[in-house]
């Protein structure tokens, strides 16, 4: 475990930088995590982050692509590289696990 200072608050994060307690999350914190990842959050980003927070269990890229907010390509454009991992980190939820 480690601690980070986001938006004036000290917050516990995992070694990979995921929030330990998802309930500590707010949009200001999201903006600062996003900045560290080189992403400037837009309203569209926020809408996706909210969808992700509301649909944490069994979350997949396919599910986000069917959210009505973005399609899969749009999701990659918003969070380049690993969209699910990146958006989960910024949304303050656990690192997505892919099960075998």
């Amino acid at each position: 475990m480690a601690q980070k200072n986001y938006a004036g608050v000290t917050i516990e994060v995992t070694e990979e930088g995921y929030l330990v307690d998802s309930s500590k999350w707010n949009e200001s914190i999201a903006k600062e995590i996003a900045k560290e990842e080189g992403i400037e959050l837009t309203d569209k980003h926020i809408a996706v982050l909210k969808f992700i927070r509301e649909n944490q269990s069994g979350l997949t890229i396919r599910k986000v692509g069917k959210s009505g907010i973005v399609d899969i390509k749009g999701f990659y454009d918003l969070f380049p590289g690993g969209p699910l991992k990146l958006s989960s980190k910024i949304a303050g939820i656990n690192k997505p696990t892919s099960c075998v």
Binding site: I61, K66, Y76, P80, G81, G82, T97, S98, V100
Partner: protein, 409 residues
């Protein structure tokens, strides 16, 4: 007369039919099993067909051979289930009423989910090996292939038998080495996962083996489409990989009747309690194996272990008792690694694959996360065990619950 209906006469459905017929009074319980196919495929054997190790006849037997007398076997398509009315409706309108329903209809490959996949190059330069047709077509292709770029790609997870594509590249390495053209074949393993596998220690072990065998791993690649003209696969983030021959593991989905019945998730897998294996929605429906959405491998070993839990909990439910059996997500996979060797992984919901011995601590004879000849023999012998013991619901000398004994942390 009370009724149990089992949908799917694959590994899970067949095991349940055998267990239940033995346990339940014939005067009291009517058991019916439904499947659209008459042939039972030994699916772990498909992997060996492209390399000429197994032939078609090695992996097929009539389903009817494995269904015990006293169980009614119906070959028909399932149109839909009406859980509110405790009814299954078959193609043509036949209705099966049930007191308890077991859904074991598995998963299937859906190449139509990916644009460009099932078009002009399908079964010419693009093959799957998760169907008998694909495996046989690929065998023919490999027999005369002179070399080039072999790309093995997993379109999306979850897939049935997540280690099979790895075994495929290991066996391809051996096959082309023996054919004397390994230096002309470039093998790439393209996966949506971040590495060779999902769990850290197995990923490291398998990643090292891939490197040793000169197989190129391309991670985090989420397939968007296939370009038939340029012979390229394209990812959602704009990457492209050229191939001469593409071996694809298409998107896996549950059976279409699940969608028609409104019982599944985005991929037609049925929301299932991961401990009791009962449907989350309906108290008299159990879901066994690949058809469920439980977070473990879609694999025969899981179905086998899970069948014990479904059996116990169904009997408890029949008696109106609390369900006491809990599934731990136990999965156990042989991994063929080529040149007569193999590895084994054994894990569950909470414990990743660890090194050690299996099933007897310190003795084995199998080595967990090790690459040995004995592990390979295990896989070879398993086909016999599958047909003669496992499908018939007989006891195997392994525990359904995963054991930490013999594992090293």
């Amino acid at each position: 007369m009370k009724k149990i209906v089992i949908l799917g006469a694959g590994t899970g459905g067949t095991i349940m039919a055998n267990k239940l017929r033995k346990a339940l009074d014939r005067e009291e319980w009517d058991i019916t099993i439904v499947d659209k196919h008459k042939t039972h495929y030994y699916q772990p054997g498909f992997l060996f067909i492209p390399f000429g190790i197994y032939k078609r006849d090695d992996v097929i037997k009539p389903k009817a051979n494995f269904i015990p007398s006293g169980v009614k076997l119906i070959f028909n398509e399932i149109n839909k289930v009406e859980p509110e009315n405790n009814k299954v409706i078959l193609e043509g309108g036949q209705i099966l009423n049930y007191d308890f329903l077991i859904i074991a209809t598995g998963t299937r490959v859906s190449p139509e989910e990916t644009p460009g996949l099932k078009e002009e190059l399908w079964y010419k330069d693009i093959f799957d090996f998760y169907t008998i047709e694909g495996a046989l077509a690929l065998k023919e292709f490999f027999e005369t292939w002179q070399g080039g770029k072999l790309v093995v790609n997993i379109a999306e997870v979850p897939i049935k038998c997540p280690v099979a594509p790895l075994e495929f590249v290991f066996l391809a390495d051996e096959y082309f080495t023996k054919a004397g053209i390994r230096d002309k074949v470039e093998i790439s393993y393209v996966t949506p996962l971040a590495g060779a596998f999902t769990k850290p220690r197995a990923t490291k072990m398998l990643g090292d083996l891939l490197k040793e065998k000169n197989i190129n791993v391309i991670p985090d690649f989420y397939l968007e489409s296939v370009d038939n003209k340029e012979k390229k696969i394209k990812s959602y983030d704009g990457r492209e990989i050229s191939f001469d021959v593409l071996t694809i593991v298409p998107v896996n989905k549950g059976d279409d009747f699940v969608e028609r019945s409104g019982m599944g998730d985005d991929l037609n897998f049925i929301p299932t309690d991961k401990l009791t294996l009962r449907s989350e929605e309906h108290e008299n429906i159990f879901v066994l194996g690949d058809a469920s959405n439980i977070p473990t491998s879609k694999a025969g070993s899981v179905v086998h272990f899970a069948s014990e839990v479904v059996f116990e909990n169904l009997l408890s439910s029949i008696k109106g008792r609390k369900m006491h059996a809990h599934f731990d997500g136990h999965s156990n996979c042989y991994i063929e690694t080529g040149f007569g060797k193999g590895s084994i992984i054994d894990f569950n919901y909470d414990t990743e694959p660890l090194p050690g011995n299996y099933p007897l601590p310190g003795i084995g004879p199998f080595g967990l996360l090790q690459n040995t000849k004995m592990n390979h023999y295990g896989k070879v012998i398993f086909r016999w065990i599958y047909w003669h013991i496992l499908l018939k619901g007989k006891e195997l000398p392994v525990e359904s619950e995963m054991s930490m004994v013999g594992k090293k942390k």
